[in-house]
């Protein structure tokens, strides 16, 4: 019931109609086309078209992402996605050349940016290199050899410099070294010597790791060079600014680009589905899955395109890979997210959501269990639902929080907790801090209810498959045995309980080994199966977290209140008190809501689903208008 019944559709038609048929189905959005191609790869013409589409798409995407920071976009979370009509879209499509011209120019801008960046990096390095030479007041083109004299700009490692200068002073060579300045690791100097001692000078250079600075490619004094370079840096900056202005002008076209992108994306999806069909020269065959209730609309959509088709609907066969779509009451829908995060049901299985939702609802509330916290949660979620344009998983999650907030509110009233002990209200039932054991028993009881539900669902699954005997022997006998054990705990029923438990246990011992061959093995594995009672025990104990997490919320709320109240001695204290309370309680809500989400999910996944649920379904993914940026309206 809750898993939508699917029909298998076969469509035989003319290839000429194929494109318009796919277009109609895409707009309808309820048909998932299955792959009937046997060999890998597929039509090379389509493959080529697809890769062309991919190239266009990736170019457009690049341009869109590049332009985005320059455009004023409305946040889609608040305003929803922009809408575009087909008419407008057709108008944009007619300007394809223009649109791709914009893309090209964006690529050029990007290239200019990266070139400027490279140049900037180079210049910054050069400035760093030349700046220390600022005190040198001869043009660098005058360095080198002039007549009989060599003039060289040299760098000496700082640690060698003193020794180097001493050596120069001591020697009686016609050599003069004039210190000019210092860079980070080297001392800079001007060396002037007679050309005749070049060899000696080289020797000296080698000894002290002296290098010559060439300044190749520059003219003027170092100071002038730095000035020029800095001017260039400024020019780069202003060029960048002007490019940015030009880009900003282009950003008006962002919507066109997005529309074009989305259109191509839809085309691509159609093309991909084309590859799934079997065809001859003129005719194609399509196999698809359609939800039973949209068979009619599919029928009319196809007939509105063409008459020359043969259409057939039938029930899926045993080995068909049926996709899964869920259809649940509005109130249960938010809880689907819990199952979806685990695994979708198998198409031939039961949908657990209806059974799981009430438990999740109750458990979440019990773990947070504060009326005021519940109100805050629900109000915030309601605000988000009202103000934000949410869709998909995000929407379901917020709706889930809204519902769980209500449950939290109810449990808060039952336990009399409003911001912990801040507002004293008499509990409807009791305060768990006064009598934790009572709440612990309640937790176990609720756990038992869920475990029983799980066992019953498992039996139902067997019965649906026609295995009534298995259901009676496996799940039925366990129910009897467990019930007997539970009754043992109550003094009033102990007398009967013994017999009930005994009957259950006997039955289990006799039946659980029925797949074994020899009698001894039948008996031993039957006996051993009783050991499973420990797993039921640990399952029940696991529900004690309902109490523990509930207590945690309450006690921490009390801690926050106590700390805050200690401050309330003067006006500043009161302000601090309010701040601590607000912050503390918000923190507590966040931590406990996360904890409650995690732990009630876990109770479903391990304790509940473990009893009957297999999962492993594949989500129904019909051909539809799946766009990235815009919503396309109308036909």
């Amino acid at each position: 019931m809750a898993i939508v019944k699917m029909k298998k559709m076969f469509l035989l038609g003319l290839k000429d109609d194929l494109d318009s048929l796919l277009g109609a189905l895409q707009r309808l959005g309820t048909v998932e086309i299955a792959d009937v191609k046997e060999e890998e790869g597929g039509n090379s013409k389509i493959t080529a078209e697809l890769s062309e589409l991919e190239t266009k798409l990736s170019r457009l995407k690049f341009a869109i992402e590049f332009l985005r920071p320059y455009a004023k976009e409305q946040n889609p979370l608040i305003y929803g996605r922009p809408k575009v009509s087909w008419k407008k879209l057709e108008e944009i499509l007619s300007r394809e050349a223009e649109v791709f011209k914009i893309v090209d120019s964006i690529y050029r801008f990007e290239q200019r940016f990266s070139r400027l960046k490279t140049e900037e990096g180079r210049i910054v390095n050069q400035i760093e290199l030349i700046k220390p030479w600022g005190a040198l007041d001869i043009p660098v083109e005058d360095l080198g050899t002039t007549g009989k004299v060599d003039i060289k700009a040299i760098t000496v490692p700082k640690k060698n410099f003193k020794e180097f200068m001493n050596k120069v002073k001591e020697s009686d060579l016609p050599l003069e070294v004039i210190p000019v300045g210092e860079s980070r690791e080297e001392s800079l100097a001007l060396a002037v010597y007679h050309s005749s001692i070049r060899t000696e000078a080289q020797e000296l250079s080698k000894e002290f790791s002296v290098n010559t600075e060439e300044f190749s490619g520059f003219t003027g004094t170092p100071q002038e060079i730095v000035c020029k370079l800095q001017e260039r840096l400024e020019a780069i900056e202003s060029e960048r600014k002007s490019i940015k202005e030009e880009i900003t002008k282009l950003s008006d076209n962002l919507l066109d680009l997005k529309a074009f992108y989305d259109y191509l994306l839809l085309e691509k999806q159609k093309k991909e589905n084309l590859q799934k069909m079997a065809d001859t020269e003129k005719i194609f065959v399509m196999k698809a899955y359609v939800p039973e209730n949209s068979v009619e609309s599919v029928n009319s959509a196809i007939n509105s395109v063409t008459d020359t088709v043969h259409l057939e609907f039938e029930d899926p066969a045993e080995d068909d890979d049926i996709p899964v779509a869920l259809s649940n009451p509005r109130l249960v829908q938010p809880f689907e997210i819990v199952t979806e995060l685990y695994s979708l049901p198998d198409p031939r299985e039961i949908d657990p959501n209806v059974y799981m939702a009430p438990f999740y609802f109750v458990f979440f509330g019990m773990m947070v269990s504060d009326a005021a916290y519940g109100l805050v949660l629900s109000l915030l979620s309601a605000l988000a639902l009202w103000k934000l344009k949410l869709a998909g998983m995000g929407k379901k999650l917020v709706e889930l929080l809204f519902l769980c907030g209500i449950s939290t509110f109810i449990w808060g009233i039952i336990f009399g907790s409003w911001f912990g002990d801040l507002i004293k209200v008499k509990p409807l039932w009791l305060n768990p801090l006064d009598n934790p054991m009572a709440v612990l028993y309640l937790s176990f009881a609720m756990g038992l209810v869920q475990i029983y539900t799980g066992i019953v669902l498992s039996a139902y699954k067997d019965i649906r498959k026609g295995k009534v005997a298995d259901a009676l022997m496996d799940q039925g006998l366990w129910l009897v045995f467990l019930t007997g054990l539970i009754m043992l705990a109550f003094p009033g029923t102990v007398g009967v309980a013994k017999y009930v438990a005994l009957v259950g246990a006997m039955g289990l011992v006799l039946t659980q080994g029925r797949t074994q061959r020899s009698i001894i093995k039948k008996f031993t594995s039957g006996l051993l199966s009783l050991y499973n009672v420990t797993s039921y025990l640990s399952d029940v104990l696991s529900y004690s977290r309902l109490l523990a997490l509930g207590l945690a919320t309450g006690v921490i709320a009390t801690v926050i209140n106590t700390m805050a109240k200690m401050l309330g001695v003067n006006i500043i204290g009161y302000i601090a008190m309010v701040i601590i309370m607000a912050g503390g309680h918000l923190f507590n809500i966040a931590v406990n809501a996360l904890g409650a989400y995690v732990h009630s999910s876990r109770l479903q996944y391990i304790e509940f689903f473990g009893k009957f649920y297999e999962g492993g379904g594949r989500a129904f993914d019909p051909l539809r208008m799946k766009t990235e940026y815009l919503d396309i309206e109308g036909h």
């Binding site: 004690s544 523990a548 995690v598 876990r602």
Partner: protein, 160 residues
Amino acid sequence: MEITLGQVLALLGAAMAVFLPGIGSARGVGMVGEAAAGVVTEDPSKFSQTLILQALPGTQGIYGLLTGFVVMQRIGLLGGNLLPLTTYQGLLVFAACLPIAVVGLLSAISQARAAAAGVGIVAKRPEELAKGITYAAMVETYAVLALLASILMLFGLRLS
């Protein structure tokens, strides 16, 4: 007022219940945080998902504080009338604090390992976040059970 050995033992128990799981949680949250920071350095969009995983090993510290608080309330420290506990009463309170103190410390670190591995899942397949959370939450069960044991013992003790 005279201070009894029982009072000292009870407070020692409360202190242990707070600081041991606190250490565990601090280390655990730190570990997951490091792995998360690594992921976010390369892919900032994963921030909120990794943050959830980082929060998971933090609960043990909260459980510890909670137990410590229950002790303080039970021995009358918060009301201002510290009960004149006997040595045996003090030992009882101390013993009641042990489950959450020890299990809290160790489970926080184990949980952090699972959560840090969960961060790896998020890095590769963000859509599988729920599975990463579930793996880490499996570890927390034992901290919850220990908390429950500690609290039930504390509520069960007759101290006055």
